[in-house]
């Protein structure tokens, strides 16, 4: 006891002494130690910067106002609305929404349907997210925005490239013997044309916050903040390449959207290498930059300790790590900073570790992923690192079994939580103007879990009970999100809930290239009976038509394609007519159902300066069908009709009339035939701006006065449901 009390007394004295050293004015003035300096200087600099900004903002505010006035920016002068909030749910289906509203499971959406608007929203040809969202943001048809699919084809090589953006290496290099150092930043070329509506708002002095709207990479300058969405690449420049480490013998190789990597045992530790971006010093060899990874398993406690880039991460089986910052060092002080998450799938009998694609770190972006550049840094500092990859939910990993259903779902909701956080922050910041956020989870989960709703789906879970409530729960969670948005929006804001397309089952694949081959439109080089990906064994001198992407069918047109043989004009028209006659009505030998409802001639559905880049025909598959996996990537093999055995079991790349999106609003929108192209002109008109003549969409008639809540059932406002 005496010892304890003397210890306490000593502690008290020491504390008092330390406090005295810190607090006594004379001592502090004479001896500002560096310890205090760390804290004081940082705080002081922060406050100094803050007040400098404040001073500058206040000082320049009248000047900026004057400048606006002089440029004729009379923002909000003719506006009928102060704030528009658009919640985008990629792929939300009107039939499913109506079904669950009727069952009382979506109370907030039902409230919108009762007191405002609920309608199907016509989508684009084809009903694919990059196409439809491009139309959403520009108000024009694809012939004017130049996006026809995720991929476009190079007419010279028949190879695909990403349709929305092209990331090119730096233009200049400094050569040192065998080494070459890149000078300058990579060049990013936007391939989407036409102006987003928020640029018109910005020119009129109306601020917008745009969060993760697809096809907004590279970010374009405007008056507002924007975080790019779909099409942002990972650190490797791909649209998402996961890594799957396994100690199982024989592991290795590439898969669509991922790489399988072996773990090598050294005593109690397993070693592997995580692949990062391409080595920027090409003459060093074409190897990618890598980081060594060490795994120390603990089979008893079903956990591992992963050591990577100087960090130790403890992981339990079935658990995701937090975001891990990684730095890939290329030498010469050049680093690439990325983030990833890890998921421990199993410890025994084999170690299986999934690593998400290494993504651009929003706090130190290797490429600009936001406008202004600092916006992603702001979000990263405020909320912590977040997923930046365009297609962030790793559907490939689930397709190939690197993730199981629960792990994939967990990942989707983790990403969704990040998105919600950013959206609500944007909502707080955008007190006047437009605030738009697109949530992708609705699309990804429906793609991957549709098989759980249909026990007879070819890809339905075998040997385990299906979780038929996943999509219903998803809709309920989105409904709750809408409820929170409505609470925060206040009574004066216009709230729109839109989706770019709906959803249907994808049970059977139609192998378009195999059909073209069978029918003699597509030929293979002599000696080949099949062709590998991207038309490797196709004889272009004898091929008249080929399919690429999800709905596109191209003629091998002379003067356009490098080895084109079909003469433009009569021959081409005749061929198009022949294909349009033959394809619709094709029946599936298994069950006799019609697989293709309609084939669209893009000369009829598109109009604009970029129409020539479009496919010649678009195949409108019937519900339950879609382009087979084998056909999408330009391979020619297999049967014409194939069961879809993948987890990717729901889809929307079919006849657009089969998969309209949704339109909910907290105001009454009158009229018929609402289309996704109408959103942009409607927003411009509501803010009192003229609608540009090139826009194809037509502004809706929106009654801004809140309507009294009718007492009728939701079904009165809902379209016919398919249940």
């Amino acid at each position: 006891m005496p010892r304890n009390s003397s210890c306490r007394a000593f502690g008290r004295r020491a504390l008092f002494l330390a406090l005295a050293c810190l607090l006594l004015p004379s001592a502090a003035a004479a001896y500002v130690g560096p310890g205090a300096g760390f804290a004081v200087l940082s705080s002081f600099l922060t406050l100094l910067l803050a007040f400098f900004y404040a001073f500058l903002a206040l000082l320049t505010w009248p000047v900026r106002q004057l400048w606006r006035w002089r440029r004729g920016r009379k923002a909000f002068q003719k506006a009928r609305v102060e704030r528009v909030i658009i919640v985008g749910f990629d792929g939300m289906d009107p039939e499913l929404a109506a079904r669950w509203m009727r069952q009382g499971k979506l109370p907030h959406l039902a409230r919108l349907a009762r007191t405002g608007t609920f309608r199907p929203l016509a989508t684009t040809h084809p009903p694919i997210s990059p196409v439809a969202w491009s139309t959403f943001l520009t108000g024009v048809n694809p012939g004017k925005h130049n996006i026809y699919d995720f991929l476009a084809r190079d007419r010279q090589t028949y190879l695909p490239f990403l349709s929305s953006a092209q990331v090119l290496g730096p233009r200049r290099w400094l050569h040192f013997g065998r080494r070459a150092i890149p000078i300058g930043r990579p060049e990013i070329k936007a391939l989407r044309k036409s102006k987003p509506f928020w640029q018109y708002l910005g020119e009129a002095g109306i601020f917008s916050s745009i969060i993760r709207v697809p096809v907004t990479f590279p970010p374009e300058p405007f008056s507002g903040v924007l975080l790019s969405g779909m099409c942002v690449p990972d650190l490797r420049g791909s649209q998402g390449t996961f890594s799957f480490f396994s100690s199982r013998e024989g592991t290795g190789g590439k898969q669509e959207g991922g790489v399988l990597l072996p773990l090598v045992q050294e005593g109690e530790v397993w070693r592997g290498e995580l692949t990062g971006p391409e080595n920027p010093f090409p003459e060093e060899g074409s190897r990618d930059l890598t980081l060594p990874l060490r795994i120390r398993p603990d089979a008893v406690r079903r956990r591992v300790e992963v050591e990577i880039d100087g960090q130790r991460i403890g992981l339990r089986q079935g658990e995701y790590s937090d975001w891990i910052s990684l730095r890939f060092r290329a030498g010469f002080g050049i680093n690439a900073q990325g983030i990833c998450r890890m998921y421990l799938r199993s410890v025994q009998p084999d170690i299986e570790l999934y690593v998400t694609p290494v993504q651009i770190d929003p706090r130190r972006p290797a490429l600009p992923i936001s406008h202004p550049y600092a916006y992603s840094i702001y979000l990263g500092k405020l909320h912590g690192p977040f997923s930046t990859l365009g297609l962030a939910e790793d559907t490939w990993a689930l397709n190939h079994g690197a993730l199981d259903d629960p792990a994939f779902l967990q990942q989707c909701y983790q990403i969704h939580a990040e998105r919600e956080q950013m959206f609500f922050d944007a909502l707080d910041k955008t007190r006047r103007g437009a605030c738009i956020c697109v949530f992708d989870i609705t699309d990804r989960v429906q793609h991957m879990f549709w098989r759980h709703m249909e026990p007879d789906h070819p890809a339905a879970p075998k040997g385990e009970p299906p979780d038929s409530g996943v999509i219903e729960t998803l809709y309920q969670r989105m409904d709750a999100l809408v409820g929170r948005v409505l609470d925060r929006a206040g009574p004066d804001a216009l709230v729109l809930v839109v989706s770019d397309h709906g959803f249907k089952s994808f049970r059977r694949g139609f192998n378009l290239n195999a059909w073209l081959h069978r029918e003699g439109y597509l030929s293979l080089v002599s000696g080949s009976t099949v062709s590998e990906q991207w038309f490797r064994h196709v004889d272009w001198q004898r091929t008249r038509a080929y399919g690429m992407g999800l709905n596109g069918l191209y003629l091998n047109l002379s003067g356009r394609e490098r080895h084109g043989i079909v003469q433009p004009g009569e021959e081409a028209d005749a061929l198009l007519g022949e294909l349009r006659e033959k394809l619709p009505g094709i029946t599936d030998p298994d069950g006799g159902r019609v697989a293709i409802r309609e084939v669209f001639d893009t000369r009829e559905v598109y109009d604009g300066p970029y129409r020539e880049n479009a496919p010649d025909l678009l195949v409108g598959y019937a519900s339950g069908y879609r382009a087979a996996w084998e056909s999408v990537n330009g391979s020619v093999q297999g049967e014409v009709f194939l069961d879809n055995m993948r987890a990717w079991s729901g889809d929307h790349c079919i006849d657009p009339h089969e998969v309209p999106g949704v339109l909910f609003a907290n105001r009454v929108i009158s009229g018929e035939d609402h289309s996704i192209a109408d959103v942009a002109p409607t927003i411009l008109q509501l803010f009192g701006l003229p609608v540009p003549r090139h826009m194809d969409g037509k502004p809706w008639s929106v009654r801004m006065e809140p309507a009294p809540a009718p007492s009728g059932p939701v079904a009165a406002a809902a379209p016919s449901a398919g249940d």
Partner: protein, 268 residues
């Protein structure tokens, strides 16, 4: 205190014949290293990192949303809150380092704050007393090599006696100050190296001794409250200008801390 002085004498010994900047840089870097270790292990690094991120985020918020005054003002509020929070998280490591750093700085002040007198150079000796009447009783007994160059000036109103002294011999010696009843000594140092120099001998309590550890305290019974020898300052030469060593120490410590931060993995 003698033990501490001896320890620092030992630590400074290798730098005795080198320019003072050399010792200053070495001690500054060492200080930064120790401080980083303290921050790394004694503070809540996660919380400090988080609050620093928030500070940066709110700063960016001011810039990004500068046209929206409401958002800007709210960002200032959050900045202020985050700043206090940051200071709060820094308190524990600050408390831990406060005492050792104060001791270190006091010791460095003894060596770098002033330089010894040069042979033939003069300096003022100021003796302060409690009682104005004691002013008349003060007399000096000078060691060999130290001479008075002017008669003692007695200023009862200010309770002090001032003498101008000149040294002639290199080395350490002691001046005796007599108050009629007892005498107290004051060290005088002549030379050119990095010597430990006590400019002031105090009668004060523990705090004064903490901050002026060069010599033992004057007896409590003595009417003399302090004896000060006004050594010339020792500015640290940086090209054309000379600055106080504390400024260099502060700047080099911070710079070294920033450089070493990623290697030690400390956030501050």
């Amino acid at each position: 205190m003698t033990l501490v002085n001896s320890a620092f004498d030992f630590a400074f010994a290798p730098f005795a014949d080198r320019p003072p900047l050399f010792a200053l840089v070495v001690f500054s870097v060492a200080t930064a290293f120790v401080l980083l270790l303290v921050y790394r292990f004694a503070s809540n690094q996660r919380a400090i990192r988080r609050v620093k991120n928030l500070l940066q985020a709110h700063l960016l918020e001011v810039r990004l949303f500068q046209d929206q005054l409401g958002v800007v003002w709210s960002a200032y509020g959050k900045l202020l809150r985050a700043t206090f929070s940051y200071l709060g998280w820094s308190l524990l490591p600050l408390l831990i380092v406060a005492l050792p750093i104060t001791l270190l700085i006091a010791q460095m002040e003894l060596r770098l704050g002033s330089r010894p007198l040069l042979p033939g150079e003069s300096a003022l000796l100021v003796v302060r007393v409690d009682d104005p009447a004691a002013v008349d009783r003060i007399s000096l007994q000078l060691p060999e090599g130290v001479v008075e160059t002017a008669p003692l000036i007695r200023i009862p109103a200010e309770r002090q006696v001032v003498a101008r002294l000149e040294t002639r011999l290199v080395g350490r010696s002691e001046i005796l100050v007599n108050d009629g009843a007892a005498s107290a000594s004051k060290e005088i140092v002549t030379g050119s190296g990095l010597e430990r120099i006590s400019a002031q001998r105090l009668r004060g309590g523990w705090l004064d001794r903490l901050l002026g550890p060069g010599e033992d305290a004057l007896p409590r019974s003595s009417p003399v409250t302090s004896i000060t020898l006004e050594y010339p300052d020792r500015p640290i030469g940086l090209g054309l200008v000379g600055v106080n060593w504390l400024v260099v120490y502060f700047v080099v410590t911070l710079a070294a801390a920033f450089v070493m931060k990623p290697f030690i993995g400390a956030e501050f």
